[in-house]
Symmetry: C2
Subunit: 232 residues, 2 copies
DNA sequence: TTTTTCTCTTGATATTTATCAAGCCTAAAG
DNA sequence: CTTTAGGCTTGATAAATATCAAGAGAAAAA
């Protein structure tokens, strides 16, 4: 694994404060790999041999059951995924596939657990990260159970807008097909939902979204920090 | 806080291996309280001042948005709840109310965080618990997104049956009203779903459930360890 | 005990969401 | 450049789920 990647990985919250030699120990056992698009990195149910870090590209976390499939999350650089399985040494609950050409670091789970045991700062960082992940999924469950699909889409758009620094116009970062799955609906319904949001000043053309009436949309979406603020 | 409760609390995975004086430090700041039924212990959005431990009775974790409410989980003795909020020192994401007369231990969140910093075994236990919680919510999200309400009910019954050591007949532990909310449907629909499971040999009378055709029900429900096994 | 309250159930209906089929459009492949 | 494949949209229809209304039954209160 080339040392050139070390600084960007080191900057992740997870690795920030840990002892340098522990970090190096982790990196020693790790390796980088380049994947083409649409490659399945992880199959749910497999033993969790590696902690994954996305350096570039993007990865879809999804799950299947009874020939149905649903998108659970999209992982973007630079961040890790599958931490909980790594820590518990339990099988992966979600599958993962690259959405585009991606560079991924694989850190052996054993090493992560070993360093966890001897580096209290790293342990603390893992706890924070896990708590964060847990709270994110709880929020997403609330979103699913308390809102209709139209409301979920409206709030999704507002969250994306926040990510785009509040600009009235921004691009969707994932294709609509997968956005539909992520929001728990069919692609057909997503199309209709976009049309339904016309009434609240939402214009969509391809991947371009324009929110022409912020107030109206917010009054309809009723965003709540306890569901939509993924930073806390 | 009476010492008589120490042993049962000490036996929780979370407190098992930690140093005795650290455990005592935690207990020193804690206090027990008895609550009548239907008391709201926690209001989502409040700062997380205490880690809660249910000694007896039961607690419903629920969330609200836009005058809608949904039940997220039921906490039974002996276990803790609201660990993630405590650790992150972030606002509670769920509200909590007693379902029956309950005895609850309140451990100041500050103390938990302080002991976390100095007791590596406790830190490890917290990580394991958080990872467990995270994985449980992921499973529940998969359940919601991949299954119809009839399938969710069928799998719920199979899980409850497992809890009842596989007996063909067992009791529902929560009222149907809340079960419906937990499963993400209306009470009316739950009634109809129970009737829909007649076809697979499920008989319900009051809180009594009888699974007369295990094979049929399982073939319909298609339970999966990656969704339904909450122990891993 | 009687009364009252609330859960549970059922039927009728409305709404939401999914499915199916077809055509459009874009982008990749030849 | 043309062709082809696949995502996206639309309309028609079907299925799933929610809502409303009413009544039965059980538990709590008087």
């Amino acid at each position: 694994m080339p040392k050139s990647h070390f600084p960007e990985i080191r900057e992740l919250d997870l690795f920030q404060g840990m002892q340098e030699d522990h970090f190096l120990a982790l990196m020693r056992g790790a390796y980088v790999q380049n994947f083409p698009p649409q490659i399945e990195l992880i199959n749910e149910g497999d033993p969790s041999d590696f902690l994954h870090i996305v350096l570039s590209g993007s990865v879809d976390l999804f799950s299947t059951w009874n020939r149905r499939e649903t998108s659970m999350a999209t992982v973007r650089p630079i961040s890790t995924f599958i931490l909980a399985a790594t820590i518990k040494d339990a099988p992966y609950l979600m599958s993962a596939r690259t959405l585009e050409k991606s560079r991924i670091v694989l850190v052996p789970s054993e090493d992560v657990r070993a360093v966890f045991d001897i580096d209290p700062v790293f342990a603390q960082a893992i706890v924070t990260e896990l708590a964060q992940c847990y709270r994110s999924v709880v929020k997403s469950t609330k979103d699913l159970k308390l809102r209709t699909s139209l409301e979920r889409l409206a709030n999704y758009l507002l969250r994306q807008q926040t990510r785009a620094d509040g600009a009235a116009e921004f691009d969707l970062l994932i294709e609509k097909r997968r956005l539909a799955s992520f929001l728990g609906m069919t692609p057909e319904n997503l199309s209709r939902a976009f049309k339904g949001l016309h009434a609240y000043g939402v214009m969509v053309e391809g991947i371009k979204v324009r929110i022409s009436n912020q107030r109206d949309l917010e009054r309809f979406a009723k965003p709540s920090p306890l569901i939509d603020d993924y930073s806390t």
